[in-house]
């Protein structure tokens, strides 16, 4: 057997472990998806009409138009929220003896981390499905075709993959579960400081500059275009680029942190 088949086999074993964890403690997933869900309802019902009017309204009134605008941002927030959970579960793992045991076994080193990443991707898919389902109940009527949906799903997975590697690294770097639960918090708020809740054109100069160039905005814009059925738009290269850079950076950082001699 080659090293690669070992890595794949061991990773599959670790994914199985993470899936059992998800299954054993569904409340964790519910809590992670709860925040984006609450914010979606808050913004749609409390601010929706006014915000929708600001967007120029829609055929069925302001609230429906705003819901359509809001969903991509909420989806990104859901991805960030799940990734935050990953940081916590990685940090928890590292503080318990089980990872020390894994390190003394002849298994592919990276499998512990890939187990977390893939487990977290599964969790993200479930959470995003819940959010989209809730949006549909609230009256979200996307005009995306099957191809658009597929592309949107791919983009969600890619963004989740990138953010998860980043938060795996953050979880490893944090050293304690408390730190791990606080450090990725800003990720949750990045959709606010981008085009997640309001168009960047409406923001003051400094903030607007940040909002237009931060990684979440092109991903949100692309997702919005796909769901609206108006095509991916010209944010695609930037969205893919950001995801690639974050994924690679997070992966390399995480790998280095996990591989380091804990005594140094």
């Amino acid at each position: 057997m080659t090293a690669l088949t070992h890595a794949v086999g061991d990773s599959a074993t670790m994914v199985g472990r993470q899936v059992k964890h998800l299954w054993r403690s569904p409340s964790v997933t519910l809590m992670l998806v709860g925040m984006p869900l609450l914010l979606m309802m808050l913004f749609v019902y409390v601010f929706g009409d006014a915000m929708g009017a600001g967007l120029g309204g829609g055929p069925s009134g302001g609230r429906a138009a705003y819901l359509e605008y809001l969903v991509p941002g909420i989806v990104l927030m859901t991805i960030a929220s799940t990734a935050q959970g990953t940081a916590i579960s990685v940090a928890t793992d590292m503080t318990e003896g089980i990872v020390a045991r894994f390190r003394t076994m002849a298994i592919a080193r990276v499998s512990v981390l890939t187990g977390h990443v893939v487990g977290s991707l599964i969790q993200t898919v479930l959470s995003v499905a819940v959010v989209i389902g809730a949006a549909l109940l609230l009256g979200f009527r996307p005009s995306a075709g099957p191809g658009d949906w597929l592309a949107a799903a791919g983009l969600v997975l890619l963004a989740a993959f990138a953010l998860t590697w980043l938060t795996v690294a953050l979880g490893l770097a944090s050293g304690s579960v408390e730190t791990a639960s606080n450090v990725p918090m800003p990720l949750m708020f990045l959709p606010f400081l981008g085009s997640g809740f309001a168009p960047t054109e409406t923001m003051p100069a400094g903030l607007r500059w940040f909002a237009e160039y931060q990684p979440f905005t092109p991903v949100i814009e692309t997702l919005r275009g796909l769901l609206a059925g108006t095509g991916a738009g010209d944010s695609v290269p930037l969205a893919l680029g950001w995801c690639g850079v974050i994924a690679l950076g997070g992966y390399l950082w995480a790998k280095r942190l996990y591989g380091r001699d804990p005594s140094v």
Partner: protein, 321 residues
Amino acid sequence: MTPPPARTATAVSVAGLRKSYGEQTVLDGIDLEIPAGTVFSLLGPNGAGKTTVVKILTTLIGADAGRIEVLGHDPAHDPDAVRAGIGVTGQYSAVDGLLTGEENLRLMADLHRLGRRTGRRRSTELLERFDLADAARKPAAAYSGGMRRRLDLAMGLVGEPRLLFLDEPTTGLDPRSRRGLWEIIRILAADGTTVFLTTQYLEEADRIADRIAVLDRGAIAAEGTADELKRRVSGGHVRLRFAAADRLDAAARVLGGTRDEEALVLQVPGDGGVTGLRSLLDRLDAEAIEAEELSVHTPDLDDVFLALTGTGDEQRKAARP
């Protein structure tokens, strides 16, 4: 697949092992030689560096200097060859609390690539052997301390290691669980597994180890069998307590020894043998000196430990008349 570890008669061989954390020297030149198939105990107080030795030998951390061979391989250069042959049970139970006992063992079986059928059989065997069959389907987080420790040890055995590291396996266990664990270690050793045990309990080392090394402040203070170590301290003596100071004086004139004026106690060197004791009492009788109380103190590993680790200067003085 990593190549199987080379067959060696020596399980662990260490020379000149050093390790520092920044300014602090934790291990200051350690030599160890552990023949395969024996039970070796590294004995030392808290902070002596026992866990650091285990971490280095089990590939968890690197050493600063020294020649190290575990099952014929250098942990720094060929860690996977070492890992393939060892099992480790640490001070902290390394079990997955969210998984059941059975799932924990199956996880280990999968990571050892035992295959489905073998993995299932081995898990069932170990659950039976470690008295966990009834709790097999409960999450490990709900286990008692003793059960977690047994599960932890069972997990270290799934891969049938040739060399088993036990880092303070009985710390925090009640006496009954402790005895149970000793019994398991004895059976493993009888089956030919080499056991590397760290402990701060002398009784534990005395009962189950073939050879003992006393680690103190990063250096090996003494090494040998329990009997060899006991012989190194001349701690055997007879204690006689008297009712009055003049009797103590009289006895000291006849027998010699060291006297404790306050406690009215005289310590006379001796191994507590019947002949020696009889002649001692005869000499007291001949002078008509009456002793209130007599006790025999044979050297045990506590004397060795205290004398060697420098934590017991008082006892050392008392032990050397």
